[in-house]
C-alpha cells in the first residue's frame, strides 16, 4: 500500500469515527489517543504483529484492547478496532489514532503548540506565553516546551498552522535573505 493511500485511508477512518462518535470525546481523550500513537510509533513490533495474517484475529483484538485499557482510550474505540480487523487493516490502527487526535483538535480549533526557547523558561514566562497564545487563538491550547540552543536567543511558538518567532536565529535568517536578494 502506498504511503499516500495509507494516509488517505487513515484520514477516512478517523473522519468516520469522529463523525459518529466524536461528540462524546474530550480533550483528554484526544491526548490519550496521541499518547497511544506515540507508544505504537516507538514500538514497531506491535504494528508488525498486527500485519501478520497467520495471527488469529482474537489475539489481535486482545492485544489492541489491552492497549486501549492501558492508555485509557474510550470504549467507543472498540468499534474502530473491530472494523479494522474485519477489513484486514489492523496495521493502520497506529495512524488512525494519530489522525483522530489531530482531527479532533482541528475541529475544536485547539492548537498543539511547541514552544522552543534558547534557554529554559521560568513558570512566569511560560504563563505569559500561554496567556498570549490563548488571547491570540481565542481558547486554551496544548503546550509542549523544548530548549533549542539553535535559536541563540528568543522563542519560537509553533503549531501545525500557526507560527510566532522572535529570535536571533530568525533575525540572522532574514538578514541573510535580504542580503542575498540585494546581491551582496
Amino acid at each position: 500500500m502506498s504511503i499516500s493511500l495509507q494516509a488517505e485511508l487513515c484520514e477516512k477512518y478517523a473522519q468516520a469515527y469522529l463523525n459518529i462518535l466524536g461528540d462524546s470525546l474530550t480533550l483528554s481523550d484526544a491526548e490519550n489517543f496521541l499518547r497511544a500513537y506515540q507508544f505504537l510509533h516507538a514500538h514497531h513490533k506491535i504494528t508488525f504483529f498486527l500485519k501478520l495474517s497467520a495471527l488469529d484475529d482474537q489475539v489481535k483484538t486482545k492485544q489492541l484492547k489491552l492497549l486501549c485499557e492501558k492508555f485509557e482510550l474510550p470504549e467507543s474505540v472498540d468499534a474502530i478496532v473491530q472494523l479494522l480487523l474485519a477489513q484486514k487493516r489492523a496495521s493502520l490502527f497506529e495512524h488512525v489514532l494519530y489522525r483522530i487526535s489531530t482531527l479532533f483538535k482541528e475541529r475544536a480549533g485547539i492548537h498543539d503548540f511547541v514552544i522552543q526557547s534558547a534557554v529554559a523558561l521560568s513558570e512566569q514566562e511560560k504563563g505569559q506565553i500561554e496567556k498570549f497564545l490563548a488571547r491570540k487563538t481565542g481558547q486554551d491550547n496544548i503546550y509542549t516546551y523544548h530548549v533549542d540552543t539553535r535559536l541563540i536567543a528568543g522563542v519560537r511558538l509553533r503549531s501545525q498552522t500557526l507560527l510566532w518567532e522572535h529570535s536571533i536565529a530568525q533575525q540572522l535568517r532574514q538578514l541573510e535573505l535580504s542580503l542575498v536578494a540585494k546581491g551582496n
Partner: protein
C-alpha cells in the same frame, strides 16, 4: 570577485531594534516538491493567487486549493525542502510600478535585470486587476500610427485596440511590433514589450536595437525568458499589463506588445498538466480562453483619458490559423495582421496578407487623410490577387485586367517597406495619393518606391506649408488635393531614376 562594503553589524543591530509583531503567522508544511510546484499541508485560509513565502527565501503563488492541501507554483530558483515552513502573506502577487521603470529591462517580478541598479517604484500593484467596465470605456476612434504603410492603410490600429499579429515562424511578427515601438518616438506613448519564453540572444539583440534607436527613452522591456520558471512566463503578460495600467491611469497612451502568447499558453498548459487538471483540445485546459480574454480585455480606451493598445503575437504552424490558441485569440481581439510565408519568401516585406488581415475598428481609427486615399485599396488588392491566380494559367487577358494587374503590382511594391524605417501619416497619405491618382502607373515597377519616397521629400522640401497643413488638419481637402495633383505632375517631369539608385 569584488566584495561589497556592507556593514553587517549595523544591519544586524537595526534588525534587532525592531519591535516584534503581535500577529501569529499562518503557516503550512511542504509535503511534496518537484517540477517547480510544491504541495503544502496547512494554510487552511490561503486564497487562490495568494503570495506564499517559504522559510528558505523562495516565494510562490497558490494555484490550486484542495481539501487538505494547496498547490503552489514557485517563482524563483531557490530550492524548497520537504517539511519547510510556508507562510501566508495575506496578499496576492504584486509588482512594483512607477515612472522609473521607463528605459529599464525587468523580469516578471519587476526586478531589474539590466544591471543598472535598483528601481525606485511609486507603488505596488496586484497583477490581476479589475477590468474597466463598459461605462468607463470610450470608443476606439483615435489612430495609433504604426508607421508601417501596409498596416496604417489596410488594417489601421486605434488607441485602445487589440490587434493580433499572427504568422508562421520567421515571417516578421516581432519586426512589426518593434517598428511600431520605434515609430512612437515623440508621440507621448509609453511602450511595453513583454517577452515570453524568448531566447536570451534574441532579447539582447532587441534591447540593443531599441537602445540604439532611442526607443528605450519611452519603453519598458519585461522579460520572462525560456529558461525561467514556468510561473514567471505565466505571470509576465499580466505583470506587463499592470505596468501599462499604471501609466494609463495617469492619462498616458500605452502600447503593449505580448511576444508571444503561444509560449504563454504553452507555459499555462504545463502548469495545468502539473496540477493534474483535465487536458482538453491540444492538451490545453478548459479555461485557456479565459487565460487570454482576461488579459486582453484589460486593454482599451478610457473615457477619462488614457488607453492601452495591445499587440499580442501568436505563432502558427504551416499557415494554420484554425489551431486552438490562434482561433481563440482571433475571436478575442479586434482584428488580426496575418503574415504570409509565401509573400515573405517573395520579398514582400512586411509580408501582410491583405485578404486575411482585418481591423474590426477600421476607418474609425484612421486619419481622414489616409482614409480618403485608401477607400478602394483593399478591394483592388483582392482583385489583383484573384487575377494573378487566373493569369498563372497562361490565359489571355483583356486590357482592363492587364491594367488591374499592373496597378496591383505597383500597389504591392508601394506597400513594401524596409525594416526600422517608418513613415508619418502625412508621408503615407502622399504615397497613397500617388497610387490613387495613377501617378505610379507609368513608372517601372522597380522604381515605384523610389518615386513615392522622392515625391514625399519633394513636397516636404519644396512645399513645406502644404506638408504642415496636412499634418495639422490630418486631412486633405479639395484645394489641397488639387494642388497635390499639380505638384505630382511637376515632380513626374523632374523624376529621373538612375540604375544605381
Amino acid at each position: 570577485m569584488k566584495a561589497k562594503n556592507t556593514d553587517l553589524v549595523s544591519l544586524f543591530e537595526q534588525a534587532l531594534s525592531g519591535v516584534p509583531e503581535q500577529k501569529l503567522e499562518e503557516i503550512g508544511i511542504v509535503v511534496r516538491v518537484g517540477d517547480g510546484i510544491c504541495k503544502v499541508h496547512g494554510l487552511a485560509n490561503a486564497v487562490y493567487g495568494e503570495l506564499i513565502k517559504f522559510d528558505g527565501g523562495n516565494q510562490g503563488i497558490v494555484m490550486q486549493l484542495d481539501e487538505d492541501s494547496v498547490s503552489i507554483f514557485l517563482l524563483g530558483p531557490i530550492p524548497v525542502a520537504e517539511l519547510e515552513v510556508a507562510k501566508r502573506t495575506g496578499s496576492d502577487f504584486k509588482i512594483p510600478v512607477g515612472d522609473n521603470l521607463i528605459g529599464r529591462v525587468i523580469n516578471a517580478l519587476g526586478h531589474p535585470i539590466d544591471g543598472l541598479g535598483d528601481i525606485e517604484a511609486s507603488e505596488l500593484r496586484s497583477i490581476e486587476a479589475v477590468i474597466p467596465g463598459v461605462i468607463e470605456r470610450s470608443p476606439v476612434n483615435e489612430s495609433l500610427e504604426t508607421g508601417i504603410l501596409a498596416i496604417d492603410a489596410l488594417v489601421p490600429i486605434g488607441k485602445g485596440q487589440r490587434e493580433l499579429i499572427i504568422g508562421n515562424r520567421n515571417t516578421g511578427k516581432t519586426s512589426i511590433a518593434v517598428d511600431t515601438i520605434l515609430h512612437q518616438r515623440g508621440k507621448d506613448v509609453v511602450c511595453i514589450y513583454v517577452a515570453i519564453g524568448q531566447r536570451q540572444a534574441n532579447l539582447s539583440r532587441l534591447i540593443r536595437l531599441l537602445d540604439e534607436n532611442g526607443a528605450l527613452d519611452y519603453t519598458i522591456v519585461l522579460a520572462a525568458e525560456a529558461g525561467e520558471a514556468v510561473l514567471n512566463q505565466y505571470i509576465a503578460p499580466y505583470a506587463g499589463c499592470t505596468i501599462g495600467e499604471y501609466f494609463r491611469d495617469q492619462g498616458h497612451d500605452v502600447l503593449i506588445v505580448y511576444d508571444d502568447l503561444s509560449n504563454h499558453s504553452v507555459a499555462f498548459r504545463e502548469m495545468s498538466l502539473l496540477l493534474r487538471r483535465s487536458p482538453g483540445r491540444e492538451a490545453f485546459p478548459g479555461d485557456v480562453f479565459y487565460l487570454h480574454s482576461r488579459l486582453l480585455e484589460r486593454a482599451g480606451k478610457l473615457a477619462k483619458g488614457g488607453s492601452i493598445t495591445a499587440l499580442p503575437i501568436v505563432q502558427i504552424q504551416s499557415d494554420d490559423i484554425t489551431a486552438y490558441i490562434p482561433t481563440n485569440l482571433i475571436s478575442i481581439t479586434d482584428g488580426q495582421i496575418f503574415l504570409d510565408t509565401k509573400s515573405f519568401n517573395q520579398g514582400v516585406r512586411p509580408a501582410i496578407n491583405a485578404e486575411l488581415s482585418v481591423s474590426r475598428v477600421g476607418g474609425a481609427a484612421q486619419t481622414k487623410a489616409i482614409k480618403k486615399m485608401t477607400r478602394a485599396l483593399k478591394l483592388e488588392l483582392a482583385q489583383y490577387h484573384e487575377l494573378l491566380d487566373f493569369a498563372q494559367f497562361g490565359t489571355e487577358l483583356d486590357d482592363v485586367s492587364k491594367r488591374r494587374l499592373a496597378r496591383g503590382a505597383r500597389a504591392i511594391e508601394l506597400l513594401k517597406q524596409p525594416q526600422y524605417v517608418t513613415y508619418s501619416f502625412v508621408d503615407q497619405s502622399l504615397m497613397l495619393f500617388l497610387l490613387k491618382e495613377h501617378f505610379l502607373d507609368n513608372q517601372e515597377i522597380r522604381y515605384t518606391n523610389l518615386f513615392a519616397t522622392q515625391f514625399v521629400s519633394y513636397v516636404r522640401s519644396v512645399y513645406p506649408d502644404l506638408h504642415r497643413i496636412i499634418a495639422q488638419t490630418e486631412e486633405i481637402n479639395d484645394p489641397t488635393y488639387a494642388k497635390l495633383i499639380d505638384i505630382a505632375k511637376e515632380f513626374g517631369k523632374l523624376f529621373a531614376p538612375s540604375e544605381n539608385m
